[in-house]
Amino acid sequence: MSHWLVILGVAALTFSLRASFIVFADPHRFPHAFRQALVFVPPSVLAAIVAPGLLAPDGAIALGLDNPRALAGLVAIGFAIRWRTPLAAIASGMTSLWLLQWGLARLG
């Protein structure tokens, strides 16, 4: 039941945000600072999702060898900067993680 409330709420909210200026409002009526803040939404939100996913995958910050996701993530960032296609990050990151997990299992 609560799942369906979330589904409908997320659907209504994402649609409202998309339709906001296209359908309902004139962007020039909003203050400049507001529009400028929106420019920084993608880098901020995405970094706030990525950082814990790499450096604290189980909740606590882990920078050691026992956290292969940190290193695999760095590899993926490098590939993404060099090649700029989504597949470069996904393929290099997954391959690195599998290799590291396999290597750590051998060592351990």
């Binding site: 994402t14 945000l17 296209i22 400028q36 901020s44 900067i81 989504p86 996904i90 997990q101």
Partner: protein, 232 residues
């Protein structure tokens, strides 16, 4: 671009130009489907979430919070925060679509994504005949929509079969990296990203993943501060 581009020509061009992007979005959709089932949603709920919201990031964040049994309102709010970028896209698009009927604008708003926005905003600003360029947007957006939903359905069906040892949940983080890297274009963007990352780690202990909201606001503030300081 041909000066007398017909609606049909624009539609086909849009679909064709977005095709390379599918290499990234189709695996992402597959992962979104797998994650929905892994988060405890029924297959029908997983597909409904995708068909109605059509946003990988919002879907993944909602799934993460539903898996953690977060309150309904917090879950919706978190998905809203990560979707705030749509406000920016909507503002950038509205002058190009202002001449269209309300029905057209509702349809195009519903189909708007990061990828189709990035491609179409470039196309809209090219010189030449712009009358039918919304068909170009429709072509790219519909191609993304149909392929995305198919990928999610396959992910939802396959979800139960993928063993946890494949660490497929890491593909979600990698998808976000693939979106983050091109989003960092200026020093102010970089400052926003670094501050947001640091605050997200420092605030990781907050309940209901509130760290995401706090970190995003801190990042936005840092970006704006750099921008202000640079202009002085």
């Amino acid at each position: 671009m041909d000066a007398t581009a017909s609606p049909r020509r624009e539609l086909v061009d849009g679909a064709r130009q977005i095709a390379p992007v599918l290499v990234g979005t189709v695996p992402f959709g597959f992962v979104a489907g797998v994650v929905a089932v892994a988060s405890g949603l029924t297959p029908l709920e997983g597909v409904a979430l995708s068909v109605l919201s059509f946003s990988g990031i919002a879907q993944l964040v909602a799934c993460q919070l539903m898996a953690a049994d977060s309150p309904v309102l917090i879950t919706i709010a978190a998905a809203g925060v990560v979707s705030l970028r749509f406000l920016m896209y909507s503002a950038a698009f509205s002058p190009h679509l202002a001449h269209l009927s309300r029905r057209w604008r509702l349809l195009l708003a519903y189909l708007m994504t990061d990828q189709s926005f990035a491609m179409s905003v470039k196309h809209f600003s090219e010189p030449g005949d712009a009358r039918h360029r919304h068909w170009h947007f429709l072509g790219s957006a519909l191609t993304l929509y149909v392929s995305w939903q198919l990928a999610v359905v396959i992910g939802v069906v396959a979800g139960a079969q993928v063993p946890a040892s494949w660490s497929l949940d890491f593909a979600v983080v990698l998808c976000f990296i693939a979106l983050l890297v091109p989003a960092v274009r200026t020093r102010a963007d970089l400052a926003a990203a670094i501050v947001a990352a640091a605050v997200a780690l420092a605030a990781a202990g907050l309940p209901f993943r509130l760290s995401l909201v706090v970190a995003s606001i801190a990042g936005i503030a840092a970006g704006m501060a750099i921008e202000l300081w640079r202009k002085k």
